[in-house]
Symmetry: C2
Subunit: 410 residues, 2 copies
Amino acid sequence: MVVEIISIGDELLIGQTVNTNASWMGEKLSMMGAFVNRVVTIRDTEKAIWDAIDEGIKQTDVVIVTGGLGPTKDDITKKVITTYFEDELIIHQETLERVKGFFARLNRPMLEVNIQQAAVPSKSTVLANLQGTAPGMWLEKNEKILISLPGVPFEMKGIMEQEVFPRLQERFGELQFYSKTANIQGVGESYLADKMNDWENRLRNANLELAYLPSPGMIRLRITSRKGQQDEKLIDDYFKELEIAYPENFFGYGDLSMPEVIGQLLLKNKATVATAESCTGGAIGHAIVSIPGSSAYFMGGFITYTNELKHQLLGVQQHHFETVGAVSEEVVREMAEGCKERLNVDYAIAVSGIAGPDGGTPGKPVGTVWIAIATPTETIAKQFQFSDNRERIINRTVLSALNLLKISIN
Amino acid sequence: MVVEIISIGDELLIGQTVNTNASWMGEKLSMMGAFVNRVVTIRDTEKAIWDAIDEGIKQTDVVIVTGGLGPTKDDITKKVITTYFEDELIIHQETLERVKGFFARLNRPMLEVNIQQAAVPSKSTVLANLQGTAPGMWLEKNEKILISLPGVPFEMKGIMEQEVFPRLQERFGELQFYSKTANIQGVGESYLADKMNDWENRLRNANLELAYLPSPGMIRLRITSRKGQQDEKLIDDYFKELEIAYPENFFGYGDLSMPEVIGQLLLKNKATVATAESCTGGAIGHAIVSIPGSSAYFMGGFITYTNELKHQLLGVQQHHFETVGAVSEEVVREMAEGCKERLNVDYAIAVSGIAGPDGGTPGKPVGTVWIAIATPTETIAKQFQFSDNRERIINRTVLSALNLLKISIN
């Protein structure tokens, strides 16, 4: 099944809106075994719409058009489609009732333009839009399928899931791929690719597909089988090899984020945690509380952006600032231990670093970060050297600190 | 100047990557007066690239191609372009030196594939890539321009800004639109649109264009004039009306973020700030330190996720937790005042709220947030009711707290 996606809308072309509809559909369609051949984003004009539909229909099996179905007069997609399929518009009663109900619930008057939203080409199969007023439409001609959907993301997604995917599957058969994603933190993509060369080759020889998915501060590795669920164990075995090779970097599967992994570990161990942050300014605490229910293990923490507060609130000895400096093993250790003791928790995370762009020295360039974890039995500390800009240094510090906590708990 | 953008890459079609390159270019090109006619996203195959370039060249003045210039063997764009322009590849010495220097700095061996990155069509103008190894290329044929750029966003942006925009401007003349964006916080888009109906109509009658740019937790309003700089004062006058109508919500122009506005205000007033956060878990501190140089005014703060710590670290009276509860005016006031006193700062921000999904009650549903600002002369407190999910409640709390600080300083 070869698919072309046509996205209609000036707002996409002038960069007011990013075309996330196309990527969502691309991902879902690929996962069900379809081949997305092209995405064409066009202006909201009759000629542009006609040309794009005509090209798409000639080159692919299925053309999915999004956008241009709203109530305003600029939205001419429906007219073009109807003409293209040599059809005429008729009012679809079921849709009209739905639109009427929609306006009644909002207590808003219904205008003529709203009634026209219930008009569809007479030969089309109407795809019910349970989230909005403009229905989707499914048209066929010479074995080719044209699907027209509203551009509002949640309306488009609803119709795709409830109406389009089941019909495509029925038509083109179960092509369902199977795929699994593993998350790895603290090792660079090129380093990993280099080390895992042999692993990658074996994987490809087993007809599995590997993708490195970019994600800030970590690597997400996706293995896909075109044979479906039957390859589940094979894929698991390949990932197990990675788990064994990178026990300190491998942190979970699927959409599980690092703060979620940490949360589950702390809950399992009935342990509590607190933070003492300098360069991250609260970003580690923020990441931890992003998880619902984090109050079960997160108590709180200190943001000690100045040396004065590192001393006053955490008991870091003043002389360190003159001798080894605030970004040092001595200081993060005392920050972690001071935090753990004062807040009476099982684990404390402390970070101190130079996020830049200023403040770097030859010995401690921008991106130098010290992280310490105080555990019930010991305190471990580790130095990191990150590059890039302030935002990315802070982000990497958060992930590395949480990863170091994970290793400490395990 | 009519432009077509061609984005090459399987990762874009299968939804691994969202095509933010095209929206960035669309916005910048539109702002300089170009008409972006179409964006075509295609597979990394010879035929797809050839067909797309051929179509683009026939229909527009300028075709900008991104992607397909990396060192791996899949990247065939350069070959197709060279053949299309009936040209041959030659090694560009200046680029080769740059690539060599790049590998030398990283202490990595340079491979044959890397040398090939310095190969360009002999008739092309090389567009220097100061951020990476693959250079951009500018080719012309029968008054049509083809520009080929790497797909890595920051490399593409660097070449566009340093090499492409100046050349396009020279060729097509100053078509520069003039536009200005204002940022508004704490009022809903539909509410604003409703209130400003008359303002919007007058604006459109003056041939100015208005766009509501979506941005989490705030509204960005852009007014554009196609006549350019001459309309600057007119646009300023329209925005002044908004400033007067929404003094508490209007927080700045352009790309200036709320933390930057706060930073500039504190610097100007030589004032310091600290935070006492509950439901945001450090997100306010994180937002403040996202600005380089924030150590000049941000001292640090407390994350008091438990009642116990609100009492222990900030001196909140225990009886409040039984009587009015942790999410109350009494508690945030004492948090702010306790923080200000203990950290000896001019301003302290305190927040306490229910970020959900659990923890809501009929009297204090999820999204109830109290925010207090302790200033040198008084403490102000305000209750907010946010909806949506945990992440958005936290995000809105951060923006609202910073906005309340802004109002307190002014």
